[in-house]
């Protein structure tokens, strides 16, 4: 590039200075990173403290309850396995929401995609029976789940784009419709009349994922989740499409001005996010269930939103967010079965923890003060030097 060389000469006329000589900014970055960790730890500590204060009032043994909440999830291999199993759908739904977040479209259709994809793969699995080996059956189910998801997320995406209908409202309304559709299919096409609850016939063995690690009973769905975390992290950070999505999401007008097709990219990202929610539903059925038995929306779509927020919208951090959420949920289960605390209260504590961890500007005043002080110190030092 010839023009580049000429601008080099242009700049060289001026006295050279080292462009990396900017300790202030480096320090600012370090403070931002450090405060991130401090914020999460402080958030959890405050939440547990609040919980303890309330528990003193309503429980006979508040310390025991808090201990159960914090340490209970690690008290047996089975419970640790449960955390991981619970984290699998959280991870996949979190990845799904990372796509929506990346392009700044709060398409919440994942909630019902998860349910309908689970329903459709069960239905299909029952139809196919044991005629296919697991090595074919599992990928087939994942693909079917993805297709269901992509088709469903197309609806709010196209309405947003063509009819200017708010994507949040459309996706939430559709959630109600699609959940009923799944229940309809369950009741009229695959309900097993021989069991006491509403549930489908048992799915064929070839689509029931085997468990790993002996006593921990970790379903092998975790492998699917981990592979997808890696693939999607690469997609986000190492492919042109990932760059496009992130540019469009962070500043659509800028993305347009440098020549990206903002609408098309945001559309594609929503379809990809929907496909992942479908994969999540299919995986969950194969990983944790023998029958399709959801008769109400499962909440996984919203959990995915939470995970994506906890993970700072970064797919690499999604496993951490998912494991954290699963840990809090299992802690709640433990307390629920072993303590004298009503279940609703557990939800309150969960809520406080997640709220404080997710609140981005919690402690931001303190962070700004630190940055301000370090800038001042830097300036003072610089003045000393010149003297």
């Amino acid at each position: 590039m010839s023009e580049v060389k000429q601008t080099t000469e242009a700049v060289k006329e001026k006295p050279q200075m080292d462009p990396r000589r900017s300790g202030v900014m480096q320090r600012t970055q370090r403070i931002e990173a450090m405060m991130e960790v401090v914020r999460i730890i402080a958030g959890m500590a405050i939440a547990y403290l609040v919980a303890l204060l309330i528990l003193i009032a309503i429980s006979d043994d508040p310390l025991f309850i808090v201990k159960q909440f914090i340490l209970g999830p690690f008290s047996s291999p089975r419970r640790i396995g449960s955390i991981i199993n619970l984290a699998v759908p959280f991870m996949l739904c979190g990845l799904s929401m990372c796509f929506m977040y990346a392009v700044n479209k709060f398409n919440l259709i994942g909630e019902s995609i998860f349910m309908l994809a689970g329903c459709i793969v069960t239905w299909l699995g029952l139809a196919i029976g044991n005629s296919l080996p697991m090595a074919v059956m599992v990928p087939l189910m994942l693909i079917v789940g993805a297709i269901v998801g992509a088709i469903l997320s197309f609806i709010p995406a196209i309405m947003d784009r063509k009819l200017n209908a708010n994507v949040v409202v459309v996706s939430l309304m559709l959630n109600a419709v699609i959940a009923q559709l799944a229940i309809y299919i369950l009741r009229y096409f695959m309900r097993d009349p021989g069991i006491s609850f509403i549930g489908s016939y048992e799915t064929p063995d070839s689509m029931q994922l085997p468990t790993l690690f002996g006593k921990m009973k970790v379903g092998s769905g975790i492998i699917i989740a981990v592979i997808l975390v890696i693939v999607i992290s690469i997609l986000f950070y190492k492919t042109a499409f990932g760059w496009k999505m992130r540019l469009v999401g962070s500043n659509p007008r800028f993305a347009t001005a440098v020549g990206l097709s903002t609408l098309g990219i945001s559309f594609a990202a929503q379809l990809a996010g929907g496909a992942l929610a479908g994969v999540a539903g299919a995986t969950e059925i194969m990983n944790s269930y023998k029958r399709f038995q959801w008769t109400a929306s499962t909440g996984h779509g919203f959990d995915g939103l939470l995970v994506a927020v906890l993970a700072k919208r970064n797919p690499i951090l999604v496993p951490i967010g998912a494991l954290f959420l699963a840990y809090v949920r299992i802690g709640a289960d433990v307390v629920n079965t072993s303590g004298d605390i009503p279940n609703e209260f557990i939800s309150v504590i969960q809520g406080i923890i997640i709220l404080l961890v997710a609140a981005e500007s919690f402690l931001s005043g303190f962070k700004n003060k630190l940055i301000f002080r370090s800038v001042q110190a830097e300036k003072a030092a610089a003045q000393k030097d010149t003297k």
């Binding site: 700049v11 462009p19 962070s250 990206l260």
Partner: protein, 516 residues
């Protein structure tokens, strides 16, 4: 001299981004006075008035009303102290009646409920007192713009305003409505209300104001009796240059035309022509400056040229191809680079890394790909090289752009746009609000690229130094039209330029023949 009712003393306002909007401004107005506040856009008029009305706070300075020092914390406070403001954009509730809008905030009550009849009576009284012809029971949504403005003024008067600020009140009015407004302003003046009249229509200022205060780039150029001035003197005060900037450059050698704009028209959503039949050609190796008071179609023109907005009539031809219907990508591939007016809106993405911002226009190209993936190594090398070349002060290429200073953010923008390989550079306010060193680097690079590589440049700028010194040819835009063309930008005096910018003079098409 009349008694002074308001004095603003030594007002300095610095915005959090470091922009100094008001610099030690002092001015006072007397009773029974219509006082004009004039200046170009961005000169600090609105900021100064927002400080007076309590919408902004200032770092330094004092405000005196009737000789007593006051602190104005917010608009309610300002109203309580007798200051009223009529904004450029009306702040009315269209579904309510005139009376309800006027008494909003001082509602008459009866038995704990809003008393509509008293509201109508009070409104009608005050309207009659100042001879305003409005129907207090009419719905605001049914009123004309001129009538809505009356409602705005009544809103201020009913709260006892003694100092009334009007921010470009005639911009939205028809000539007849303007006449009526002036009559009312005279009435107000005679009944003891002081009016601050913000405008850049100088003939109006000369007609109705007794005094005028001129602001230029945040500084006060003085307060004068209008009797001592004429329009061209005011325009010289408004648009003068502070520091003479010199750029050494050889004479241009314009070659083949690269950008041809032919009778271009664009309309806004109200059907008004915001670009009204513009024609000009830019050749390889020359820089064409576009001067003008902001808001006269420059932004709209740059949006069209950058492919961000469609146009209705005419054509734009870039390197032999019409850009009509092309996507931004196609226009960029045809040879356009764009330095956006507001770097944080269209010039970069603050949350993203320096690397992504510099590579944003080219990472999709096959040079930067490695099969399915992006070529991270090559992109990093290229980014590092550009960071060094443009002396972007940062820690590393991964730093989010928002952490850099304004000048360094602009360096990121130009590092991308100057190296995209384009032969047409559209630079809209390329050095606004940045440090002198970076501004100089950008200006010199624009000139150097035109001389050495034969790029053609359209330079849109409100900075007269910049357009006069960087440009080879100079055009002046006003009301969506090119109203003047000069063959040699550095031979134009700012006084002359100011007269064209403010509409005191216009060149005929014959005069501009051959210069476009």
């Amino acid at each position: 001299m009349a008694e002074e009712v308001l004095r603003m003393q030594g007002i300095t306002k610095i915005y959090p981004n470091g922009f100094m909007a008001n610099k030690d401004i002092t001015f006072g107005i007397g009773a029974n006075e219509i006082h004009a506040l004039v200046g170009e856009n961005g000169a600090g008029k609105t900021t100064l008035m927002k400080i007076l009305f309590g919408m902004e706070d200032c770092q330094e300075g004092k405000i005196f009303i009737n000789g007593n020092e006051v602190k104005i914390a917010n608009p309610l406070d300002a109203i309580a102290k007798g200051v009223g403001m009529v904004h450029q954009h009306f702040m009315l509730l269209p579904s309510l009646t005139v009376a309800e809008n006027v008494v909003l905030g001082v509602e008459p009550m009866k038995n704990g409920l809003f008393d509509f009849n008293t509201a109508v009576k009070n409104t009608q009284e005050i309207a009659d007192k100042y001879n305003f012809k409005v129907d207090a029971t009419a719905k605001v949504s049914t009123l004309s713009v001129g009538q809505m403005q009356k409602v705005e003024i009544l809103k201020a008067l009913i709260k006892g305003a003694k100092i009334l600020i009007l921010d470009e009140p005639t911009a939205v009015l028809t000539p007849q409505e303007t006449e009526e407004l002036f009559e009312q302003l005279f009435n107000l003046r005679d009944s003891g209300v002081s009016v601050i009249f913000i405008s850049h229509k100088l003939e109006e200022v000369m007609r109705i104001c007794s005094k005028v205060t001129v602001l230029r780039r945040g500084e006060c150029m003085g307060t004068y009796d209008t009797a001592d001035l004429d329009e061209s003197k005011i325009s010289r005060l408004m648009v003068g240059r502070d520091v003479i900037l010199k750029i050494e450059k050889e004479d241009p050698k314009p070659a083949e035309p690269i950008l041809e704009i032919k009778n271009l028209r664009r309309f806004n959503s109200f059907g008004k022509a915001v670009i009204d039949g513009i024609t000009f050609t830019v050749r390889s190796g020359e820089v064409v400056g576009i001067a003008g008071v902001e808001g006269n179609g420059q932004t709209e023109l740059s949006e069209v040229l950058a492919g961000l907005a469609p146009f209705a009539e005419g054509d734009v031809v870039l390197n032999g191809k019409s850009i009509r219907g092309m996507s931004v990508r196609q226009i960029r591939d045809a040879g356009m680079a764009y330095i956006a007016e507001d770097r944080m809106v269209e010039g970069c993405s603050g949350e993203m890394s320096i690397e992504m911002n510099i590579m944003a226009d080219r990472f999709t190209k096959s040079d930067y790909k490695n099969g399915l993936f992006i070529n991270s190594k090559k992109m990093r090398e290229e980014t590092e090289r550009l960071i060094d070349e443009f002396e972007i002060l940062c820690d590393n290429a991964d730093q989010p752009v928002r952490m850099l200073s304004g000048g360094n953010i602009q360096k990121v923008v130009v590092a991308r746009e100057f190296t995209s390989g384009a032969n047409f550079i559209l630079a809209n306010q390329p050095t606004r609000g940045i440090d002198v060193g970076t501004a100089e680097m950008i200006r010199k690079t624009i000139v150097r690229k035109s001389r050495e590589e034969g790029t053609c440049t359209v330079l849109i700028s409100a900075d007269l130094n910049e357009v006069l010194e960087c440009s080879d040819r100079l055009l002046v835009m006003r009301k969506g039209k090119v109203v003047a063309a000069f063959p040699k930008a550095n031979e134009v005096s700012e006084g002359e330029l100011g007269e064209y910018m403010l509409g005191l003079k216009t060149m005929t098409p014959e005069q501009m023949e051959g210069l476009l």
